[in-house]
Symmetry: C2
Subunit: 349 residues, 2 copies
């Protein structure tokens, strides 16, 4: 080994998009969604152990780039993620992401991973976790309004975790609905393609809204939402971006991830600052009631929180142990004498 | 090409530690320090064009992990960096870092780079930039108190930018001084190894303090600092971490990068919130005076700001064009149909 070869400490495991796809197939997508749901649930149970801050956004006319850090005192994690609704028209992903875990005790990274796919998976898993506690018992049918990149993951997570086997799809673009129908039928789900949101909602116990426009939109109006349903609203996740008419929020009991972030970004940005919400982790912990009766409208106003990414990255870190689903990346300078960074450079000549 | 092969958009250039060292040797370390100084100066001139926030820290007993984002509206950049003073004793770097640039218009990353080395280079370049405007004219001798990983970079940047050719070294650990002496003599500098800070300071026109302890320390006391010197204080860069006795701050005119961050992290965390400071970019722009006379004590209270990393990353991005000093990293999922992320996964089976 030449004197300048980096030591083992200089390398961190990197999970590329290709390797993440291999990992998904290795585990099986629904098994992975179920395991991710359980991993997120376990971290939500120890919610007070985490450092929590609203994510740090950089807004532009076209979209937003965000950094989402958290730490449990032992491991630090963060995600880089963008949201650019107009990207689809340019042939690009609306959301791309990558994430990192590091050791709190020395600050050294221990995992770098793609998170475009992983975000899609963890978002669906978080929705399924909320539905596990909030959806009507025995729910079998879900409406999915907005049939973009997130739609299939939502449907499969809801099947794996709460037993949904029939999805009713609607999108303003029939081609998106057709794509989701094809994908979900290939996974053995019963799919009904609908030509209006109203039609999709009929008979659904869970209504998932996952549209991508960065604007105040009204995907659901008050008269469309009947007693007893669970609404899983995941598209309203940015200031100026909502999906539900405020009258729905007045009738529903609303559950959120981290209130200081949701009040800025979620559906409840339309409401007064004292609009009552329940934190999902408290329901999971048994500190707050979830669904109380069969006529209650429950709303999970999901915006995505850093702890979910942390859970997903830790899950991936565990799962790649002993596999070849990662590369080693030379991203940390590690001279023999840590004070001799300059000497390391000189000796590499 | 198989149907599942990622498109070009899926790959972003990654500069490893090894490739960063190759780039440094290709350009020459002092030429690179000079060019980085000019790149940072160019961005400081257009300071109002940048989004500016204090960095987002995650503090622990052992150290800190920080995210440092900024954007000029066209390019977004951020750095991940840790500071763990006890790492050296464990054989690890005190500071490790990596950084990223992305396109604001679509949120897609365009560069991922190691920044442990690049941070050392940009920190020295920023010090040299401040000295270009604040140090006494014709300065030839610099004291360097703290002879760890940053020391040599400081000395070489000061030679490249302001003409320092004699460095006087002091560290509480003589082995650190010996390491820096050896490295700097090999670069043709005149070096005096000293056994006290007082001895190192005698005759120096510039005093650089770059120690790493996370505590309130007094590397310089008031009586040690004579009229006319320029103090380049870079080790006090974290709440609870300072190097100068407050009496020095009362006699000096203090220049800073970004006041909201420096008042939390810099030497001036010891002073009242209204302690007067001048922003370096205003001096560079001609909006505020720099050094006024030969007896003035100028202090650059440097903590490191996101724009410096942005400048350094953009510089690297330019310099690797047409070279092989980078790898391509499959970190962005890029399905043919951007709404069909699920289909991309399925087709990769």
């Amino acid at each position: 080994m030449p004197a300048t070869a980096p030591s083992e400490k200089a390398f961190i495991p990197f999970v590329s998009v290709e390797n993440m796809m291999r990992l998904v197939h290795h585990i099986g997508i629904e098994a992975m969604l179920l395991q991710l749901t359980d991993a997120i649930e376990a971290d939500f149970r120890r919610w007070p152990a985490f450092d929590k801050v609203p994510r740090l956004p950089s807004h532009s006319l076209e979209g937003v780039i965000e950094l989402m850090p958290t730490s449990d005192g032992e491991i630090y994690g963060f995600k880089y993620v963008n949201g650019h609704p107009q990207n689809t028209a340019k042939g690009l992903q609306t959301v791309t992401a990558f994430g990192l875990l590091a050791q709190v005790s020395n600050g050294y990274p221990v995992l770098l991973s793609e998170m475009t796919l992983l975000t899609a998976l963890r978002t669906a898993a978080t929705s399924a976790l909320a539905a596990r506690y909030l959806a009507p018992k025995g729910a079998r049918t879900m409406a999915v309004i907005g049939n973009g990149a997130q739609a299939e993951f939502q449907a499969l997570a809801m099947r794996a975790v709460v037993g949904i086997d029939h999805v009713k799809l609607y999108d303003i673009d029939p081609k998106a609905t057709e794509k989701a129908r094809r994908n979900l039928e290939s996974m053995g789900m019963t799919v009904t393609a609908c030509t209006s949101a109203q039609a999709a909602i009929e008979g659904a116990e869970i209504i998932t809204t996952c549209t991508a426009d960065k604007q105040y939109a009204t995907i659901l109006t008050d008269n469309m939402v009947g007693a007893g349903v669970h609404i899983n609203a995941i598209g309203g996740d940015c200031p100026g971006k909502t999906e539900l008419h405020p009258d729905i929020l007045k009738r529903a009991d609303t559950f959120v991830e981290y209130p200081p972030q949701t009040r800025i970004e979620g559906e409840i940005q339309q409401m007064e600052p004292d609009y009552p919400v329940t934190e999902l982790w408290q329901v999971i912990n048994g500190d707050a009631p979830g669904r109380k009766d069969a006529s209650q409208i429950t709303l999970f106003d999901s915006v995505g929180f850093a702890i979910e990414d942390f859970s997903a990255l830790r899950y991936v870190r565990d799962k790649i142990q002993g596999t070849d689903f990662f590369q080693k990346l030379d991203i940390i300078a590690d001279p023999d004498d840590p004070r001799d960074l300059f000497g390391m450079v000189q000796r590499s000549k």
